[in-house]
């Protein structure tokens, strides 16, 4: 790929989504954008870039950005976060929000829905404890295609075997034709999905008690990570919590969050003095 083409594409992707593509990732650009080129009926990346240069075309730009997102996810990813949710986070909120009986949870990079649905199932499994509570679960992603998949909640045999215990599969899914499984309506109804770009202003989303922002900031540069985390801090009350992915940390990125001792992956906001 010509280096000016790489520059144009990587700048576009970075400006729109925060995803950083270093020159050693040009193979990734090529392999992921070829299908986009085919979809819009041009021969190769050269022609795709020509189109992008010709005039601003929001829908083509969106296709390019979406193609560059990594949507890898699984049910109950890393297990521990969901154990922490029912052991620590939920009991704490049930106590602190007893007057309002309302909890809001945001999955900020929901991908195809496995993470928000794992939360929904974990909460459902708590049964009587949350009965009568209004629990709002919001799943957002920049990629419209994965949001559609999340809404449909239809998963392949392979997907339902990654991380999901068989008892929960039997309990909450129904088998469809072929080797597809669909999550029950009851659990699906617990999660609202909408498109949302983490680079945008978040205030319109309202306040949350718990934010899952796992395995997305890893693709951003430091200043972008810091900016996103600082905005998330604004949406959390003092006793709110943030979940990051297993390989992520706030240390050296922002001082608006601090790790919760002995609870890997869990952070709480720090108020500025």
């Amino acid at each position: 790929m010509k280096s000016e083409d790489f520059d144009l594409l990587s700048r576009l992707v970075r400006d729109r989504s925060g995803l950083v593509l270093t020159p050693d990732k040009s193979y990734l650009l090529e392999s992921r954008l070829m299908p986009v080129a085919r979809k819009i009926g041009v021969k190769g990346l050269d022609e795709l870039v020509v189109k992008l240069r010709q005039r601003s075309d929001a829908s083509l730009e969106r296709l390019v950005v979406e193609a560059m997102t990594t949507n890898e996810t699984l049910f109950f990813r890393d297990t521990k976060p969901f154990e922490q949710l029912t052991r620590l986070v939920l009991p704490n909120l049930l106590e602190k929000r007893a007057a309002k009986r309302q909890i809001r949870v945001w999955c900020a990079a929901a991908s195809t829905g496995q993470e928000p649905y794992s939360i929904a199932i974990a909460l459902k499994e708590e049964g009587a404890k949350v009965a009568g509570w209004k629990i709002e679960l919001l799943g957002t992603d920049i990629n419209l295609e994965v949001i559609e998949r999340a809404r449909a909640a239809v998963y392949s045999q392979f997907e339902v075997q990654r991380g999901l215990p068989i008892k929960l599969l039997v309990k909450y899914f129904k088998q469809m034709d072929g080797d597809k499984w669909q999550l029950n309506q009851e659990i699906r109804d617990m999660v609202q999905y909408r498109e949302f770009n983490l680079l945008h202003d978040m205030k319109s989303l309202g306040q949350f008690d718990v934010v899952f922002c796992r395995n997305v900031l890893i693709y951003f540069d430091q200043p972008t990570k810091a900016q996103v985390l600082e905005r998330i801090a604004e949406l959390l009350p003092d006793d709110g919590v943030l979940y990051l992915g297993g390989a992520e940390t706030v240390l050296g990125v922002t001082d608006r969050f601090e790790p919760i001792p002995n609870e890997r992956g869990l952070y709480r906001p720090v108020r500025k003095k």
Partner: protein
């Protein structure tokens, strides 16, 4: 080192499973049908059983029911691994005392994920 008994009438499947389980640090034993597997279990119970359903002589479900009746037979974690991938079979297996259920085709990741779920890893 934990032990896993691999029960499958296909030599190829046993070989693939053996490789995956050895990579997960299991000591593996193999049997090609339920009856042979049961004999092994009568001598010494493994920590885990990876169990096919359709096999000659004694199928996986019959083996599981017999295993659970042995002294100490409730101990081994039994993970079905079969092409029977419908809800009815899964429910039957769970009712008979299976701990987990893998629908073939499987790979290392699925085995690892399922074995972790039942506390073997």
């Amino acid at each position: 080192m934990k032990s896993c008994l691999i029960v499958d009438d296909s030599r190829v499947v046993r070989m693939v499973a053996r490789k995956i389980l050895q990579d997960l640090s299991f000591h593996t034993i193999e049997a090609e049908d339920g009856l042979k597997a049961l004999d092994i279990c009568k001598r010494e119970l493994p920590d885990a059983v990876l169990l096919d359903w359709n096999m000659p002589v004694m199928n996986g479900l019959e083996f599981l029911i017999a295993l659970r009746q042995l002294e100490g037979g409730s101990e081994p974690k039994v993970v079905f691994c079969t092409t029977e991938n419908d809800l009815e079979h899964i429910q039957k297996a769970m009712a008979a005392g299976a701990d987990e259920y893998i629908m073939k085709p499987f790979d290392a990741e699925i085995i690892q994920s399922k074995f972790a779920q039942v506390g073997l890893i």
